[in-house]
Each structure stands twice: as structure tokens, then as C-alpha cells.
Amino acid sequence: MLRSFAAGALTLALTLSCLATRTAAQGATDQVTDFTLDNGMQVVVVEDHRAPVVVHMVWYRAGAADEEPGVSGIAHFLEHLMFKATDNMASGELSATVAANGGTDNAFTSQDQTAYHQRVAADRLELMMRMEADRMQNLALTEDDIATERDVILEERSQRTDSQPGALFNEQMRATQYLNHPYGIPVIGWRHEMEQLGLAEANAWYDRYYAPNNAILIVAGDVEPEQVKILAETYYGVIPPNLDLPDERIRPAEPPQIAERRVVFRDARVAQPYVNRTYLAPERDAGAQREAAALVMLAQLLGGGTTSYLYEHLVLEQEAAVYAAAYYSPTSLDDSTFGVYIVPKPGTDLEQAEADLDAAIAGFLEEGIDEEALERIRMQIRAQDIYERDDVASMGRMYGRALTSGLTIQDVQDWPQILQEVTPEEIMQAAREVLDRSQAVTGWLMPDPAPAAADETAGEVSQ
């Protein structure tokens, strides 16, 4: 149904390209309005008038997996550089201005998206839009910025990846999972390529992807959609679209995965060994979300917390493990992964732990679904519709992530109902298709071996 606009001059702004719609659905989606500016920038407004706070976010449909070969980390590097000077602002001025207004700001980069966000008093929204729109088009990088900030991202890699054996292990697992698709390359980048990133690469990335027709504006909090629309048209609506933007985001696709792969990662800093396995798995696609929904339910039933199948069997009944769980990320532009892991009890080796895990998975496939467990999960999903109204910033992030992962507003709003409707048969069907070791990587994270064996297996990645 049409969102009723205020009378007067505003009605003139109603064109086909900027119709604001408000869904008639019950619950949290009542708070959501969306429209598109003439230059192609999509806008989503999530209302919550309980506190005079607003979260302003701009999401770009450009992430690490959109990088050209050889410049891994450039998407994330540019995200850092977006805080430097523009033609109108000094370096650091945006963050300083946000802080001087009592707000907080930051940004993040993932495989499929880059996002910038500020949380401020609701009456500062216009200031945020003015500054964010400015750096969408007027970034003015220098060689000095590059040299200093490249040191910062290298320190970031040291802190978040190289200092954490678990993170290094995951990096090796992903590199082994994806034979051809860039999801196998870490978002932060490979160190040897990060060290070479320069001004030309940063500017090329910026010029290609930072444009309103590649961006989504999300405003969540104490705002009225019609006011957001006026401001968005004033600041973002005047930025010309990039007509050279690629129509579709087509990355190198995976070939059929036909061989099981194994990673053994040894590191002296590992205190708690464990077995991790990831299976290549489908993701949510626009208009086709049922299989991903079945996998979400599967992850919950198989390994979502202490009432799940893996925890009950491996931790409680067999007392073979300290912990066991399953996980799955449904929202992704291209093929995702479904994961399971087991942390064995001291004294149990990883070979035994892996065998225990496989036996439990086989047991689940044979026994099928516990209807009561499924009903509890459905109840929690229904309740989520109530709880998420208390955190509109999180709702805003949900829209931002989906819309930069190839999904539509309709997909986001259909999702809870699809989760409710998925049948036990669909869940078991998805389980049988995905839990296939020929498209899986099994990883062992281990402490350093005895010194004599160290040279043979250190950092081994085998296929």
C-alpha cells in the first residue's frame, strides 16, 4: 500500500521511481518504508520513535569478492581511506564532527559489501547525509595517506588474523573450500598483496564502485520517511550515477566440487585442538529462499545450542566432546558454507573426534527431525518479530546486508514466513544434499607436533 505523504509540495516529488511503499504485513515490517531516488540509490527507513536517536548507514554493493586478482584487500583498504580528506573536509574531519555531536561512527567491509555508519541524535541526520554524500564523490587521497594507512591495515591483519591461530586456520579452510571463487581470498587481503596496494589501485576501486546507483541508504530510528526522503534527495539525489557500473556482479564460479579436502593446521599457540568442517552450501536467492531457509532450520536442529542433536549426543550422552555445534550463513551473494565442529575432551585425538562427529551426523540423517524441537525453533522465530522492534539498528543492518547480497526488500519481508513454512521433508532433503563430504573441507587445528615431526606437517594444506 502507498505510504501517505504529507500534503503540499511533497506530492510533486512522487514519481514512479521514488514511490514509497509501506508493507501491510503485521509486526516489525510495519516500521519499514522504502523508495528509490532518481539516480538509482535505494533508501530504506526503519522507524522507532521511542528515543531521539538515529542510525545512518550507506551500504555499497562492493566487497572483497569483487576485487580483481592481485589486489586483495583493496576493498577494505579503501574503506579505511574513506576517512581521509575530501575536497571539502580535512582528513579525520567526518569522525571528529560526529564525535563533537555526541555520535559514534565506523565502517566495515565483507565479501559482498562495504558499509559506513553513524549513530547520532536524530536532529543531526542532515549533517550525516551531507558528509557521507560528500565522501561518496569528493575523496582526495594523497600518497601520505596511503603510506600511513597501509601500515594500519597491516597492523590490523597482525592483530585480527596473524595473532590468532583460529583465524589463520579459518583462512586456510576458506582458501581450500573455494577452488575458483574469490570467497577463498580473505577480506583483509593476503599480506604480500596488501604491502603493494597503492594510490592508483585505491582510486580505481573508488571510481568504479562509489556511486549512488551502487549504494543503499538505510536510516533507522526516530525519523519520518518523508523527511528522510527530502534530505536524501537534497544530498544523495544530486550525485550523478556511474553509468559504467557493471550491470551484474558476476564472479568466477565454482566448478563442481568432486573431491573431499583436508587441512591440518599446526601452531604452537593452539591450546584447544578441534575439528571443523565446512560444506559448500546454497545461499538465499531473490525469489528462491526455501532451500536456504531449510538449511537455517537444519543448523539450529543439528547444532544450534545445548538442545541440538550434536550437543545432546556428543557432549551430553557420549561425553566425547566439550562442545559441538553447527553454523550456516544464509545471506550471501554466491555459494555459502554450512559448518560443523567438535571440540573434543582432553585425551581424545582429532581422528576419534572426527569419527564421533561423522557418526552423529549419520545418526541425525537416519533418525530425522524431532517435531517438538522444530516447533520450539519456530516459536523463537515468531518472537523475533517482537524482539527486533526493540533494536531498529539491527533491523537496518539486516536490510543492508540482504540488499547488497542480491536480495530484494520483498525477500527480506518474506523470509520469516518462509522459515515458518519449511517442512521437515525439505529440511531433510537439504541435509542430504549439503552434508556431502565430496564438497567439504575437513580441518584439524592442532598444537605444534613433537619437534621431530615439525618440518613435515607445519602449515600443511592438502587436497
Binding site: H49, A100, D123, T148, S158, Q272, R376, D391
Partner: protein, 443 residues
């Protein structure tokens, strides 16, 4: 005219059209049985958030029983009730899931905290479950062993985590024989030795009515809340184990190196701090925001990250615990550059102590702190968390209305006097975990 002023000149045309709302209305509710809670009614969403905080927490671990409170906290949901209502770990978790409620039980160095949220449609059932986990835990032997195994796994992992090694290294130097000197999870030895009886004793020591703060935010009226509190908490005993005394800080200036094979060194530093009861606290709090508060604006972030690229992040904070006050900081930097990083931190600490801060810096920090404060009151759970923290710290119920005035009252003379009197660069103790190059230990 600065770049920003020029840029802003035509702004704020539409500003007056945007509404400003929301005042936080905190009510004090006393139950028929004498329990006191702070309540914010919020009926627009049919659920409520409840925060319980028991003063003492892991600081109440008996000698030789380090980790008892933490393990006990992890066991509250692992078996409770008796007779018809007896629930084991699985039955309890299934019941909570079936109601779509969520209960979190956490131990901290000065408190034990329970955070709950529950739907209006099944509030009584949810609170009956919560009640039995708090008032009637049974600590089954098999659950004790299982959760103990999970805690031991965490302890072993922390022992090889550079950040945890640095934190514990610093704590060991600072806090002598106080519980703060060791990890609240305990050690492999202390946790391995804990028994079911220790759990019962820890429960009796910590979960007591007279050390309890309560906050509720959401879809509930004062009339409903009073009897609800009595049902939920009325059975708890009064009077727990005695609280520990204040710490006699043993910090001295210098550099401690804890060798560890990692490419990036982790650094924690600190000197004596000051707590909220100190008349200089607000000045020190603003001063810390300028030196190393969160965000990109602090002096340390500018000098260490923005100008020199020596780190991804550097921060300082006033660790105002119940029994010790330390002014702390942390940074991580490449082994080859960590000596320079520490040098820059020390120089900045010294510069602020000797020269103070500028009027402009003070103004900026005040604008940030006073603007950010109301933004914290966002969502039922976060508001309940703030209210229970205010009670724990003995703040008056009208504190949110006066807090910004206290920040604004700090003058430049005052903040620079506090910088002179309270920052002691020569007393900074740096604990460095890694293989730092060109850095000497100083004791």
C-alpha cells in the same frame, strides 16, 4: 573559516522539522516483601527486559577456590527445582526456548549479573523458570563435571592468548593477593579441585537479597512488578560472604616483558587511577576521553595510529572497580615497532601531565560526552543495564538528569590541575607480551 564551517554554512534548513522526543521516566517500585527495583514502563512492544546484579561476584571467591563463582554461575541453568518441577539442563533449555525467552548468567570481577527478556504473553511461565534457576539450583554432579570441562578449555586457550597473558600479567603485578590479581575463571588447578559443595557455598555467598540491584524496562506496570519480584526473588537469603577490602596497589613504574612467539606485541599499561567517589572523577573522565577515549579523536589514536600507522587501535580507560582504581591503556604493535609505540604513549602521557589540554579539546570532549549520553538509552535491554549499573554504584535515581551538568561544570583549570596531580608518567608500568625489539625491561 575552517573547512568544516564553510562546508556547513548552508545546512540545517530542515532541522526544525525533525522532532525531538523521549525523556526517561524512572520509577522506584518497592514490592510488598520489601524488594526495590527501578522501572521504566514501555508498553509499545509486548516484552520486558529484566536485569539483576548481585554485588561481589567473583571477588567473593573463597581462598583457594578461585573460579567457584564463575563455575557456579554457569551451572544455574544446568539443573534446578525439586519434585514435580525438577528440570535437568536439557529440560530447562527446552522450556526456555519454547517460551522464546532468554536468560543470561554472567560473572564479573565485582558482580554476578542475570539478564532476562521475556514476552508479555507468557511472562509468568518465563519468570517461574528463571526463579527456579536462581533460587533452587541443584548443581548435579554430571553438570558440574561437564561445565568444568568447558571452563578448563577456556582457561587453557586464554593461557596462549597474548591479550589474556598481558591482562593477567598486569593484574598479577598490580593487585597482590586480592582476587583481582588472578583470572575470575580460576586456574587449571583451582577449577579442577572444585566440588559440588563448593558450588552450593558459592551460591549461598553471592546470590543474596541485600546485595541485589534490580531494573526492569518494558511492558509491565508497577502494580504487576511488585508481586512479580517477590515471587522471583523473595526466597533468596540475606547476607552473603564478606566483601574483600580495598586493594593496596603494588604498581611501580617500568617495563615488564613476557616473551611469547607472536608477530605483534600486546601491551597493557597502567598507573594508579581514581574512582567515581573521588571529587576529581568527572575531570579525570573527560581528561581520559581526550587522551585515549574511544573513537578516532583521542590524542593517542592521532599520534600512534593516524600520524604514524603504528597500530590498528590504542585506548586508555579509568578502570574504576569496586576495590581498586587504575588508569589503564592498551595497544598492539609489530614487534619491530612496539618500542617506538611505547615511547609515543609515554611522551603523550607526559605532555598532558606537564602542559594540560587546550580549551578547545575540553570543549570538544564535553560536546561528545554530553551528546553521547542520551544516546545510550536506546532499547529496553540497554536501559535496564544502565539502571542496574547506577544502583550498583549508588547513584541517585535522578542521575540521568544531572549527569551532563556535572560534565559541563568541569573547568579548564580544574582538568589541568587533575592532569598535573593525577597523571604520573614515571609511574606507568608497561606489560609487553611478544618479542619486542629494542625494548629493555625496567623494574
Amino acid at each position: 573559516m575552517s573547512l568544516m564551517q564553510k562546508f556547513l554554512a548552508p545546512a540545517f534548513v530542515l532541522l526544525s522539522a525533525l522532532p525531538l522526543r523521549a525523556e526517561i521516566a524512572i520509577q522506584e517500585v518497592t514490592s510488598p516483601g520489601g524488594l526495590t527495583a527501578w522501572l521504566v514502563e514501555e508498553h509499545s512492544i509486548p516484552f520486558a527486559a529484566l536485569e539483576l546484579r548481585f554485588e561481589g561476584g567473583s571477588a567473593l571467591d573463597a581462598p583457594g577456590k578461585r573460579g567457584a563463582t564463575n563455575l557456579m554461575t554457569g551451572l544455574l541453568e544446568e539443573g534446578s527445582g525439586s519434585g514435580d518441577t525438577a528440570l535437568d539442563s536439557q529440560a530447562f533449555a527446552r522450556a526456555v526456548e519454547g517460551l522464546a525467552a532468554s536468560f543470561e548468567y554472567d560473572s564479573y570481577s565485582d558482580s554476578l549479573s542475570i539478564s532476562a527478556r521475556f514476552l508479555s504473553e507468557n511472562r509468568d511461565e518465563a519468570l517461574a523458570l528463571l526463579r527456579q534457576s536462581i533460587a533452587q539450583p541443584t548443581f548435579p554432579e554430571d553438570a558440574v563435571e561437564r561445565v568444568k570441562g568447558q571452563v578448563l578449555s577456556i582457561i587453557r586457550s586464554d593461557a596462549k592468548d597474548p591479550q589474556d597473558i598481558a591482562s593477567l600479567g598486569f593484574a598479577g603485578l598490580a593487585y597482590g593477593d586480592h582476587p583481582y590479581a588472578t583470572a575470575l575463571e580460576g586456574t587449571e588447578e583451582s577449577v579442577s579441585a572444585l566440588t559440588r559443595d563448593d558450588m552450593i557455598e558459592a551460591w549461598r555467598n553471592v546470590l543474596v537479597k541485600d546485595r541485589l540491584s534490580i531494573a526492569v524496562v518494558g511492558d509491565i506496570t508497577p502494580e504487576e512488578l511488585g508481586p512479580m519480584l517477590d515471587r522471583l526473588l523473595g526466597d533468596l537469603p540475606e547476607g552473603g560472604a564478606p566483601l574483600p577490602g580495598p586493594v593496596d596497589l603494588e604498581l611501580t613504574g617500568g617495563v615488564t616483558i613476557l616473551p611469547f612467539d607472536t608477530p605483534q606485541a600486546q601491551v597493557i599499561w597502567g598507573q594508579e587511577g581514581l574512582g567515581m567517589e573521588d571529587p576529581d572523577f568527572f575531570a579525570a573522565y573527560i581528561l581520559n576521553t581526550i587522551i585515549g577515549g574511544s573513537g578516532f579523536e583521542s590524542r593517542l589514536m592521532q599520534e600512534v595510529r593516524e600520524k604514524r600507522g603504528l597500530t590498528y587501535g590504542v585506548y586508555s580507560w579509568l578502570a574504576d572497580r569496586d576495590f581498586a582504581d587504575v588508569w589503564m591503556g592498551a595497544v598492539a604493535s609489530d614487534n619491530r615497532r612496539v618500542a617506538e609505540t611505547i615511547q609515543v604513549v609515554r611522551e603523550e602521557w607526559t605532555r598532558v601531565a606537564e602542559e594540560g589540554v587546550t580549551a578547545e579539546e575540553l570543549e570538544q570532549a564535553k560536546k561528545y560526552l554530553t551528546g553521547a549520553y542520551p544516546l545510550r538509552f536506546d532499547g529496553n535491554g540497554p536501559i535496564a543495564g544502565i539502571l542496574v549499573g547506577m544502583q550498583h554504584d549508588d547513584f541517585p535515581i535522578d542521575y540521568p538528569a544531572t549527569r551532563n551538568d556535572k560534565v559541563n561544570a568541569v573547568t579548564l583549570d580544574e582538568i589541568n590541575r587533575v592532569a598535573r596531580e593525577r597523571l604520573h608518567p614515571e609511574d606507568l608500568r608497561f606489560v609487553v607480551v611478544g618479542q619486542p625489539e629494542g625494548l629493555e625491561e625496567v623494574n
